[in-house]
Amino acid sequence: MGAISAAEVSYIEGGIAQNLRSDGRGRLDFRNIAITTGVIPQANGSSRCKVGGTDVMVSVKAELGNPPKGRPSHGGMQIKVECSPTANPEFEGRGGEELSLELTRGLERSFLGGPNGSGAAIDLSTLRIVDGKTCWVLCIDGLVLSSDGNLLDALSIAVKAALRNTGLPKVEVVAGGAEDEDPEIEVDDEESSQLDVSNAPVIITLTKVGKSYFVDATAEEESHMRSAVSVAVNRKGVVCGVTKRGGEGLEPSTIIDMISVAQQIALTYIPALDLQIAAAESVDPDS
């Protein structure tokens, strides 16, 4: 995006104040969201999500690992986001590192839960194999292919869809291992079980421009946002994580109001997304 003139800035801000944005949307309207799953056959689960011109891809690979210390019957989750230079030439070489880190942390905050494992997107105890020795570790990799604003929201939708698409292979523990040795695990290639993502959150980012806030900012709108609050909410309206971005200070009452707006939106938005994800799952991917 090139530089925007002062006249254009005031046009955009005026539009937002009057609930009529540049592309005709109201403040609480989302762009067209398209979700496909199973796009990476080599992964245990994958999805691709397009929100307007923003295009992201997420893959989930289940690897065998050790349970976290202090929680022997839990599994693990790791998230990492990369920004491809295809989205923006600025991401060439190491240019995209800062944004990648910001997006990674935003997702980690919303999906991984606290240090004791509570509040994670999925029930981590479903990933256990052998208490204290072996468990599944879900490695979630996100890739931003095209950027037109609202990357965090799009990534969160893609992560939820990819988790829903994930098939955990059935495992059999080979009996007869010594007490302090790693047990032998046989991974069944044929059968797998699905993960329960009904409580997984989705991030809704509210951007504040002037006195009003709106959802699903385009790159143009984001370029002069002063502050934004990203709220991770699940379908019951429970808040799973909050991030405030941008330099401008916000009054506490404003932040609380923004969070409650996000919760309100979530009550209809997330069930609709869940239906879309389920529909994507039931479509057989073309070979």
């Binding site: 056959p41 080599q42 690897e63 491809s84 295809t86 990799d141 890739l143």
Partner: protein, 246 residues
């Protein structure tokens, strides 16, 4: 060496015949904010190429007074291979491929028409199943065409190998790891010239000629497919603007 890459009935591991290419699929214009972009699939290998340019050179020290500067960056997604990898972008293979793809495409671009400018080509591998080099060149070629950058000819690419005494076209990852030679060509279909030729492992001259011929034939088939896809894209754009007669 015990793996049978070609069965006695003449079928390869994925059921193809030796001179058969994998299924090709391409989409033009997948990234709206870029000047040109394309998606290219060769079997399970999926590659996305995006072109930004021509634009002003960012680092004036690199500016060329008589032609355009062509830069290419190759990156692989963490989930692109069977084993999830955490490769940095500066690993040697990525650097080599960036150079190779960039040079192959630069040979096709009429850089003398765009002096003092810069053209950036970004290639992102989404899934790697052998033949990534070829898929990258094909995708980048289509992206350059989508960006309207003047080219002498399309550049298309295809790979071939030799296992169980049979020349095989378009190796997948398993066949690639089979220990036989792997030959990649970059080909100008109209000019009928080779822009790129790389081969590893050792072969006799007769075998080399056979494999080279097969790879070139494969490249010609890719050229036909690519040209058709680009024409289809142009037809769609033209009819969208109301110019129905072409």
């Amino acid at each position: 060496m015990a793996t049978e890459f070609v069965s006695p009935e003449g079928l390869r591991l994925d059921g193809r015949r030796p001179p058969e290419m994998r299924h090709l699929h391409a989409v033009v214009g997948v990234v709206p904010s870029a000047d040109g972009s394309a998606l290219f699939h060769m079997g399970n290998t999926q590659v996305m190429a995006v072109v930004y340019g021509p634009h002003e050179v960012h680092n004036k020290a690199h500016q060329l007074h008589d032609k355009a500067l062509v830069r290419c960056e190759y990156s692989m997604a963490a989930f692109s291979t069977g084993e999830r990898r955490r490769r940095g972008k500066t690993d040697r293979r990525a650097t080599e491929l960036s150079l190779v793809i960039g040079q192959t495409l630069e040979a096709a671009i009429m850089t003398h028409l765009l002096p003092r400018s810069q053209i950036d080509i970004y290639v992102q591998v989404l899934q790697a199943d052998g033949g990534t080099r070829a898929a990258c060149i094909n995708a980048a070629s289509m992206a350059l065409a989508d960006a309207g950058i003047p080219m002498r000819d399309l550049v298309v690419s295809c790979a071939a190998g030799y296992l169980n005494s049979t020349p095989l076209l378009d190796l997948n990852y398993q066949e690639d790891s089979g220990g036989g030679p792997d030959l990649v060509v970059g080909y100008f279909p109209k000019l009928e010239k080779l822009s790129l030729l790389q081969m590893d492992s050792k072969v006799s001259i007769e075998t080399f000629e056979k494999v080279l011929e097969l790879a070139t034939e494969g490249a010609k088939a890719v050229a036909t497919f690519t040209r058709e896809k680009l024409l289809e894209n142009t037809r769609t754009l033209a009819s969208a603007r109301g110019h129905l007669k072409i």
